[in-house]
C-alpha cells in the first residue's frame, strides 16, 4: 500500500496543526490560513479540495517566487466540517503572519454563517466560492463575504433551467413534481427559498426532503420518493450522503438520469462507491469539471517534480482538486489586484478585500493563468460579490464525467429581488448601514 506513508504524514501534520509551508514567519510573507477537513465523514471531499488549494499556493511560490515576490505562507487547520472547530481555527489563525490572515475560506456554509459577523468585525474577507450565504452576493450589506462564481440560489435556478430544457420548455414545468433531497444543515437548506420562488413562477410542485447528517441512512427518504414518484430529484448533499443517495435511488429503481446534484454533489467520490449504479447521474458544474489544463502542467513541473505535491499525481485534475486550485487562484488574484493599489508587500485583510471587490479576470487573463477552458471571465463589484453565475451540467458515464449541456446563466431578474429582500432584512436585524455602491471606487 504505497499511500500509507503519505497518508500518515499528511494526517499527522494536519492533526497536530503543523505548518505546511514555510517554517517561520518572515516579514515579506502573505499569510493565508487553510481551514480543511482531512478527517471525519466529509474527508473524502474535503481532502482533495485542500490538496488543490495547497498545490496552487506552492505553485505560486515555486514558479513565481510568490505574488510579486511576496511569498505565500500557509497553515492548515482541521475543522472536521464542524462549525465549532471552524470558528476555533479562525480565531487561532486570523492574526498570524506579518499582516494577519489575507482571507479565509472555510469550505462550509455552517462555518460561514458562524463567521460572517466575526470576519466583518476583524476586517478579513471570507471567500465562499460556490457555497455560503446566497444573500451575501450583495456586497453593500456583506462587504467581507465573497460567494464567487455562484451561490446556491444561482445553482437552483440553473438546475431548473436544465430540467426545463430536458422537458422541452419552461411551460412544461407546470404540474411536474420536483423534490429536493438535502443535507439537513445550513448548506442543504440554502436553496429552498429560491426553489420556492421558482416553483411558484413555473407551477411545479416542490417537495423538500431532509437527510440527517451525515446521510448514511436514507431508506425512508427514498421509499417516500418511490411512493411520490417525483419527475426530478435535486440532490444537495455532501460527503457520504451523495453516494448513498445514488445507491438508494438504484435500490428503489429511481432513474439516475432524473437526479441532478448541486456542484458539491458531482465529484468522483460521490459516484465511484455506487459503481455502475451511478451511470446516468447528473450534476451541476461550478463552471469547471474534471480534467487537466495548462495550469496543471505547471503544477506538475514546479510542484510535483520537486516532490512537493499534496496528493497522488493521479488525483491531480479531479473535480474537487480543480475546485481547490480555482479557489486558491481567485484569492491570489485578489491579493495581486490589491497590490496594485497598496503596494507589493504583505497586505491586511481590509486591503485584500478591496482587491477582491475590484477583481476583473478577463478571458485573456484566465488564459494567461492557465485556466482557459475551466472558467469564464469573472468581474466582482461592490453590488455583486458573486461575479458570475454560469454553470453547465455533467453526467457520469461509469468512468468519468461528461459535459452534456451548454452554458446556463442564472436569471438575475429572479434572484436579485430575493437577494435584496433577505440581505436588507439581515442589515436591518444587525443594524448595518448598507454601503452606497455607486460611490465606491
Amino acid at each position: 500500500m504505497p499511500s500509507i506513508a503519505r497518508n500518515a504524514l499528511i494526517l499527522a501534520a494536519v492533526m497536530s496543526g503543523a505548518v505546511v509551508s514555510a517554517p517561520a514567519s518572515a516579514q515579506n510573507e502573505q499569510f493565508i490560513p487553510i481551514l480543511s477537513y482531512r478527517t471525519g465523514p466529509y474527508a473524502v471531499n474535503g481532502a482533495p479540495y485542500a490538496n488543490g488549494v495547497i498545490d496552487y499556493y506552492n505553485l505560486i511560490n515555486e514558479r513565481d517566487g510568490g505574488i510579486n515576490d511576496v511569498k505565500i505562507l500557509i497553515e492548515e487547520c482541521e475543522t472536521g466540517y464542524a462549525t465549532d472547530k471552524g470558528v476555533e481555527c479562525y480565531e487561532r489563525l486570523k492574526s498570524k503572519g506579518p499582516t494577519g490572515a489575507a482571507f479565509i475560506n472555510p469550505l462550509s456554509t455552517g462555518i460561514t454563517f458562524a463567521l460572517t459577523e466575526k470576519t466583518a468585525a476583524d476586517k478579513i474577507p471570507i471567500i465562499t466560492m460556490g457555497y455560503g450565504r446566497a444573500d451575501s452576493k450583495n456586497g453593500a450589506v456583506f462587504p467581507y463575504n465573497f460567494p464567487m462564481l455562484g451561490t446556491y440560489w444561482s445553482a437552483a435556478d440553473i438546475a431548473i433551467q436544465h430540467v426545463a430544457k430536458e422537458l422541452g420548455g419552461f411551460d412544461k414545468l407546470k404540474g411536474k413534481k420536483i423534490s429536493l433531497l438535502y443535507h439537513d444543515s445550513p448548506y442543504g437548506k440554502e436553496p429552498i427559498p429560491m426553489l420556492q420562488v421558482l416553483a411558484q413562477k413555473y407551477g411545479f410542485e416542490f417537495t423538500p426532503i431532509p437527510v440527517t447528517h451525515p446521510g448514511v441512512e436514507q431508506k425512508s427518504q427514498w421509499l417516500a420518493i418511490r411512493q411520490n414518484r417525483p419527475d426530478y430529484v435535486l440532490v444537495w448533499g455532501w460527503g457520504v450522503m451523495n453516494s448513498t443517495a445514488v445507491k438508494e435511488a438504484a435500490a428503489v429503481a429511481y432513474p439516475r438520469e432524473k437526479m441532478i446534484g448541486v456542484w458539491w454533489s458531482g465529484a468522483e467520490p460521490d459516484v465511484t462507491p455506487a459503481g455502475d449504479q451511478a451511470i446516468g447521474y447528473k450534476s451541476l458544474m461550478l463552471q469547471h469539471g474534471a480534467g487537466r489544463f495548462p495550469v496543471h502542467a505547471d503544477i506538475e513541473k514546479y510542484v510535483y517534480a520537486k516532490g512537493k505535491g499534496s496528493t497522488e499525481p493521479g488525483k491531480v485534475g479531479e473535480v474537487l482538486y480543480n475546485r481547490g486550485i480555482v479557489n486558491a487562484m481567485l484569492g491570489v488574484e485578489g491579493i495581486r489586484k490589491a497590490q496594485e493599489k497598496f503596494g507589493q508587500k504583505p497586505l491586511t485583510g481590509e486591503q485584500v478585500r478591496w482587491g477582491l471587490e475590484n477583481l476583473n479576470l478577463s478571458e485573456a487573463r484566465i488564459k494567461e493563468l492557465g485556466f482557459e477552458g475551466m472558467l469564464k471571465p469573472i468581474r466582482i463589484s461592490c453590488s455583486d460579490h458573486e461575479g458570475t453565475r454560469d454553470g453547465r451540467v455533467q453526467q457520469w458515464d461509469g468512468k468519468s464525467w461528461k459535459i452534456i449541456s451548454d452554458w446556463y446563466t442564472a436569471d438575475e431578474a429572479l434572484i436579485d429581488p430575493l437577494v435584496r429582500e433577505v440581505s436588507m432584512k439581515y442589515a436591518a436585524d444587525k443594524k448595518i448601514q448598507p454601503r452606497e455602491c455607486s460611490k465606491e471606487s
Partner: protein, 309 residues
C-alpha cells in the same frame, strides 16, 4: 390497497434496516455481556475491519488473485488486524484497568475510539473504498396484489441471514462452551472469576477478538451498502437506541431492539416526518429508547440486576 402496500413496504424496509443496526449492536452486547465494559469503540472497529478488508482485497485483485481467493485472504488479513487490535486493547487499555469501575472502563473505550479511527485512516487511507460482496438491487414482491409491488432490498435480506447465523452461533458459544461460560463469569465479577482460576487477560482478549470479528461481519454488509469510509463509525450512534431497547446483555435483544428501532424510525419518518419538517428518524429512535427506559430500564430483554444493599 395502495396505502397498505406502501405501509408494508416501509415496515419491511424498516425491519430490514433494523437488522443491519443489530449487526453493529451485537458487538456492543458481546463485550458488555462478557466483560461489563460498554465498548464505545465498536463503530470504529467496524471501520478498521472494513478498511483492512477492502484495501487488502483491492491489492490482491490488482495483483492478479482470483476474486474468491482475494476475498478469503482479505477476510483473513482483516481478522488478523482485529486480533492484533484486541490484543493491544487488552494489553494496554483494559488490562491495566482491571477492577476499575464501569465509568472508567467506558471512558477508556472513548479514547480507544479516537485512536482506532485515526490509526485506521492513517494506515489505510481516508477515501471511499467500494466493496461489493453482496447484491444491492431489489426484488419487487406481491406485484399482483399491490401496484408496483413491495420493494425488498437483496442486501437487507443478506444482512438478515447473516445476523441470524451470528445470533445462533453466539448463543451456542455463550451457553454451550467452556469459554463462553467463563466469559459470563468474568462479566459477573472480575475478581471472583480470577480467584477461581479463570485467566482474565485471556478471556478479555477472546471477547474483544469476538467483537472484532462481529465488526468485520458488520463491515462486509455496511461496506457493501455505503462503501468503506469514515462515516461507518456513525453506525455506533444508530446502535445505541437498539441497545437501550433490547438490553445491553441480550443477544436476541439486540435483534429485537434493531427491529423495533428500524421499523419505528422509518414509519415515523415517512408518515410523521412530512408534517413536522422531516429529518426525524435519528432522534425518533432515541424517543423510542427513552420510552422503554421509563418502563423497563434494563431493556426489553436485559437482565434485571438485583443488588443487596
Amino acid at each position: 390497497m395502495i396505502a397498505l402496500g406502501q405501509f408494508l413496504e416501509v415496515l419491511i424496509g424498516g425491519l430490514m434496516s433494523g437488522v443491519l443496526y443489530s449487526l453493529v449492536a451485537l458487538g456492543f452486547v458481546l463485550i458488555f455481556k462478557a466483560s461489563g465494559v460498554f465498548n464505545f469503540a465498536q463503530g470504529a472497529m467496524v471501520l478498521l475491519a472494513g478498511l483492512a478488508l477492502v484495501r487488502a482485497l483491492d491489492l490482491l485483485v490488482a495483483n492478479g488473485f482470483p476474486l474468491w481467493a482475494a476475498i478469503v485472504l482479505g477476510i483473513g488479513f482483516s481478522a488478523v488486524i482485529m486480533a492484533t487490535t484486541a490484543w493491544l486493547i487488552e494489553r494496554f487499555v483494559i488490562g491495566p484497568l482491571v477492577n476499575q469501575d464501569g465509568l472508567t472502563l467506558f471512558m477508556s473505550t472513548i479514547g480507544v475510539t479516537f485512536v482506532i479511527e485515526g490509526a485506521a485512516e492513517m494506515i489505510f487511507g481516508s477515501d471511499v473504498y467500494p466493496l461489493r460482496l453482496f447484491p444491492t438491487d431489489a426484488w419487487f414482491v406481491l406485484e399482483g396484489l399491490f401496484p408496483g409491488g413491495i420493494l425488498v432490498n437483496k442486501l437487507d435480506v443478506w444482512g438478515a441471514l447473516i445476523a441470524g447465523i451470528l445470533v445462533a452461533g453466539l448463543a451456542l458459544f455463550f451457553q454451550r462452551t467452556k469459554t463462553g461460560r467463563a466469559l459470563r463469569a468474568v462479566a459477573d465479577d472480575h475478581l471472583a472469576a480470577h480467584s477461581v482460576g479463570i485467566p482474565i487477560s485471556w478471556i478479555w482478549f477472546v471477547v474483544w477478538l469476538a467483537a472484532g470479528l462481529v465488526a468485520l461481519v458488520a463491515a462486509t454488509v455496511w461496506g457493501t451498502k455505503l462503501g468503506v469510509q469514515f462515516s461507518i463509525t456513525f453506525l455506533a450512534l444508530k446502535a445505541l437506541p437498539v441497545l437501550i431497547i433490547g438490553g445491553l446483555t441480550s443477544i436476541p435483544g439486540a435483534i429485537a431492539g434493531g427491529l423495533i428501532v428500524g421499523a419505528g424510525e422509518k414509519i415515523a419518518e415517512v408518515y410523521l416526518g412530512p408534517s413536522i419538517g422531516g429529518g426525524i428518524e435519528y432522534w425518533f429512535a432515541y424517543v423510542l429508547a427513552l420510552a422503554v427506559l421509563l418502563v423497563r430500564p434494563q431493556g426489553l430483554f436485559g437482565e434485571r440486576i438485583i443488588e443487596r444493599v
